[in-house]
């Protein structure tokens, strides 16, 4: 396990001037915001902000992580300044989490100053896509189809699940691009996935039609919010933990709604 970096209060740090302190607070909050928006747990957010601030010259930082804002007070040589940054929940992008973490490591060993850090954060914020949309859709389809095999489905179910999940994922990407409300996107995507997967039951294809329905909607599973929720709760970040748990629960309810709409409209026998 990577060592837990301890940053004692260092009174011997040189006092920072007005401009520098402002810049350092801005950069630390920016990095924290990126993490909070893209699926990092609260402890990692707090540590990142703290380590960047102290690594760049502050004596101490007090950080409050809430679900939709970050508050930080930075202290340098007796002077302190506080700033709030609004955080909007965008979605999971673990590449951002990996890159920001690498930047923190470089700052801590003194290989990155605040000017270079700003350039690097601007690069991270360009969000260069790692995978094309078809790669994502096909791989997500394959993942859901793999689930149908794990649940004990045959190859026909595998094919239907693959088709349903891939088409649903492509639709989800389109809706996301058009900035439709997250929860509405989930309902529509779950509806589409289960409507296509219902063909198994309606046309009597494959042995266990309910498995196609089960596996096809799994692409929407709120895994990151739920896992982060428990991690936050166990580590004492109650507010973010509760907020993330509720988000995950609402997404799960939206999946159920889309699925139930599809099977009751198409009158599928699903038991």
């Amino acid at each position: 396990m990577r060592p837990f970096v301890q940053t004692p209060v260092q009174a011997d740090k040189p006092p920072m001037d007005y401009e520098t302190l402002r810049d350092v607070i801005d950069l630390s909050l920016w990095a924290g915001q990126l993490l909070l928006q893209h699926g990092a747990e609260s402890q990692q957010v707090e540590e990142t902000v703290h380590q960047l601030g102290t690594g760049l010259g502050c004596n101490w930082l007090d950080i409050f992580v809430s679900p939709n804002a970050l508050v930080v007070t930075a202290i340098s040589n007796g002077e302190f300044r506080t700033k709030v940054r609004r955080v909007i929940n965008i979605g999971v992008n673990l590449q951002v989490v990996v890159e920001v973490d690498a930047l923190v490591q470089r700052v801590l060993v003194g290989k990155l100053d605040r000017f270079e850090l700003r350039t690097e954060l601007e690069r991270v914020c360009r969000f260069e896509p790692g995978y094309g949309r078809w790669t994502v859709a096909l791989m997500v389809g394959a993942a859901c189809a793999a689930f149908s095999r794990l649940f004990g489905g045959d190859w026909v179910i595998f094919g239907i699940t693959f088709l349903a999940a891939t088409i649903a994922m492509l639709l989800r990407q389109e809706l996301h691009k058009r900035h439709l409300n997250t929860f509405l996107t989930v309902v529509i995507t779950a509806f589409t996935a289960s409507a296509i997967a219902s063909s198994s039951a309606l046309l009597h294809l494959g042995g266990q039609p309910q498995l196609a329905l089960t596996a096809a909607v799994l692409l929407l599973v709120p895994g990151v919010p739920l896992i982060n929720s428990i991690q936050d709760l166990l580590k004492g970040y109650m507010i973010t933990g509760i907020a993330r748990g509720v988000t995950g629960g609402v997404i799960a309810a939206c999946i159920a709604l889309g699925l139930l709409l599809a099977i009751s409209l198409l009158k599928v026998n699903v038991l």
Partner: protein
């Protein structure tokens, strides 16, 4: 079950659970160099769970052990690649998600509302049992993958 059958079964389990973890890693935009680690952590957790369940353990207990394995494998991988462990725990936990139980819960719950009186009670009970099982498996996943951090990272917090 003969040894050959068991081997075939395990290889299938490794393959499909690995692909499930891999697909979600790509959905979450995990950098390419870490994808092999995501496959590994997903495959180890789920295969261990399947083996324990074949040996007669309950699904909840097997999930807990599988998730603990995901947690430890992820810590190992995170040291190796020098990235946060959460990259591997989040993707590795995906194959353990109790999809069938969750599905049964909501579908049975829906059919209970339209079923004739004497059957609806039975259906409601079935939905309740599946719901409890879903919740237990989910908490087993969450506690399991957090276990290494909770057990070994007890140092005084820096913040």
């Amino acid at each position: 079950m003969t040894v050959l059958e068991l081997l075939n079964f395990s290889i299938q389990d490794v393959l499909w659970s690995g692909i499930a973890a891999l697909g979600f890693a790509i959905l979450f935009n995990v950098p390419r160099r870490l994808l092999a680690g995501c496959f590994l952590s997903g495959a180890i957790g789920h295969t261990l769970r399947t083996m324990l369940m074949n040996a007669g353990a309950s699904v909840e207990f097997s999930t807990l052990i599988g998730a603990v394995a995901v947690g430890f494998v992820s810590v190992n991988l995170s040291n190796r690649y020098s990235v946060p462990a959460s990259i591997f725990t989040v993707t590795g936990a995906i194959p353990l998600v109790p999809g069938v139980f969750a599905y049964q819960t909501i579908v049975v719950l829906l059919s209970a509302t339209s079923a004739p009186g004497d059957q609806s009670v039975e259906l409601l009970a079935a939905a309740g049992i599946n719901g409890v099982r879903t919740a237990l498996v989910l908490s087993a996943i969450a506690f399991g993958i957090t276990a290494p951090t909770l057990i070994f990272r007890r140092s005084h917090p820096s913040v």
